[in-house]
Amino acid sequence: MQFSIDSSPHVQGGNDVQRVMGQVLLALLPGTLALWWYFGWGVVINIGIAGLTAVLSEWVVLRLRGRDPRPAIADLSALVTAWLLALALPPLLPWWQTVIGSAFAIVLVKQLFGGLGYNPFNPAMAAYALLLISFPADMTHWLLPSVLSQHSVSFGEAWQTIFQGKQALGPTWDMISGATPLGHMRTELSQNHMISEIRRSPVWGDFGGRGWEWVGNWFLLGGLFLVWRGVISWRIPASMLGALLLVAGLFWAIDAQTHPFPAFHLFSGGAILGAFFIATDPVTASTTPRGQLIYGALIGLLVFVIRSWGGYPDAVAFSVLLMNMAAPTIDHYTQPRVFGAREDEHG
């Protein structure tokens, strides 16, 4: 078959950073709305706090570095970082922890390494890891989804809790807060309960936790939109979720009473959000086609390993950070063959 090739000039796609980041934000909307639906206004307030801090920090650092902050802020990358961080945080986290995380992401992880395009680590995940390690109690105490607690957190309640502490809510706090499904599963398993017993608890839905699985579905929708628009490649999400399913399935097949159903891994915690929005960060991920498959698959594997035998309930942040370190090496060994060169010609 013959393709006709036009002579130059060719039509340009007009893709720039701002456009790409704008599409990422758009793709995050359905999942964000789902989080808001199940966990109340805290999510929105967190996004506001993190976004404001991120933009302010970016502005201050760029001024200190003697650069014009306007183009860097207009490209929306700081906002995307803050948004992703805010989605990963518990909805009623005290405001100053969100501020610390967001400022850390922009100032230390992004700008000190040279700004957008130079950071070796994913800023949102590095900040999440900082907060998780520094404030483990606050960071692992989530809200229960509203379908379970029968209480949807109003804007006023969320505002009060975030800015004045959880004492502001009084006894309501204990009613509406609890461990995440992954944390719940972890504690129960550590007490040698069988999966079939654990699953009888009302916190479980069809696959993951009730409410949680729907949040995952809506993030999946946004992720597929990004793949369709060509903003991200299908390789990293597919290989990450595929590897996670495969390993989880293997262990489930060996012993279904101590290893949860594979889909549980997929629809719990940050797996889907991570696969489509975080692991695919164009700056810190692997860039070669084969490299992306390896990179994604290793993240999936690490997520399972850390969730099952590690010290924390969820593992997406740590897995992504670990593989960020490995990405340059993976890229080095998976350089595609240059057109015209023989297979054995490159190192």
Binding site: I100, L108, L130, I133, S134, F135, P136
Partner: protein
């Protein structure tokens, strides 16, 4: 032999060739024990004592040790001194000795000490070597103290906690605290905090150096303009 510039030895040790900030030597204890100011100070002083002693001895025997065997000889000297310091701390600063633990014997492997023995003490007279050892040691100690203070303050909101370990019971009330309401940033106490903190200290030193170099250049051009015939 060339004239020895004592002022330069001191300024090199404390600032321009600071072993922790410029040479980046001896980072293992730097990272491991600087979770509080007092721990940093304790290890810094122990290292300084060893460095001073080893520089003096190495310099005193420099004409009698053949080049081929100098490294084993240096290591023997340093190991003996570290053992002495360890015994002293065991006897008089027992609690601090327990806290610093393995890092006291590990002073033997601190690259600063053998580095100074090789680079300075084996080629210079005793007095200069002693001054070099003292200023290099104090330079490292200063970094240990500042880093320890930073990490302690951010990580648990106190300063001088455990001062009695080093200065006796009277120092127990030296501890400054932000109060119980302060929820520490745990990361600062953990190893990443040490790396990030050291990075900031190095950056601050580089900024200060750049500023003073700029100021010096400006003064030079000004002077040149003033003394020129026009």
């Amino acid at each position: 032999m060339a004239e020895i510039d004592y002022r330069r030895i001191v300024s090199d040790g404390l600032w321009h060739n600071n072993q922790a900030l410029v040479a980046l030597l001896g980072l293992c204890p730097l990272m491991a024990v600087t979770n509080t100011l007092v721990n940093g100070l304790g290890l810094g002083l122990a290292t300084t004592a060893v460095l001073l002693g080893s520089n003096v001895i190495v310099s005193a025997i420099r004409h009698w040790v053949r080049a081929e065997v100098r490294l084993p000889v240096f290591v023997m000297i340093i190991a003996s001194l570290v053992t002495a310091v360890e015994l002293v701390m065991h006897a008089w600063f027992h609690e601090l000795y327990l806290i610093l633990g393995i890092f006291i014997p590990l002073i033997v492997t601190n690259c600063t000490i053998i580095g100074r023995a090789e680079a300075f003490a084996s080629r210079n007279p005793v007095a200069a070597s002693a001054l070099d050892g003292l200023s290099m040691g104090l330079g490292s100690t200063a970094v240990l103290v500042v880093l320890g203070g930073m990490r302690e303050f951010i990580g648990q909101g106190t300063l001088f906690s455990g001062a009695h370990l080093l200065f006796g019971e009277a120092a127990r009330h030296w501890e400054l605290s932000l109060g119980d309401g302060y929820q520490g940033l745990l990361l600062a106490i953990l190893p990443p905090g040490a790396f990030i903190g050291l990075g900031f200290l190095i950056a601050i030193k580089n900024i200060l150096d750049k500023r003073s170099a700029q100021a010096a250049r400006k003064a030079e051009t000004l002077e040149a303009a003033l003394t020129s015939p026009q």
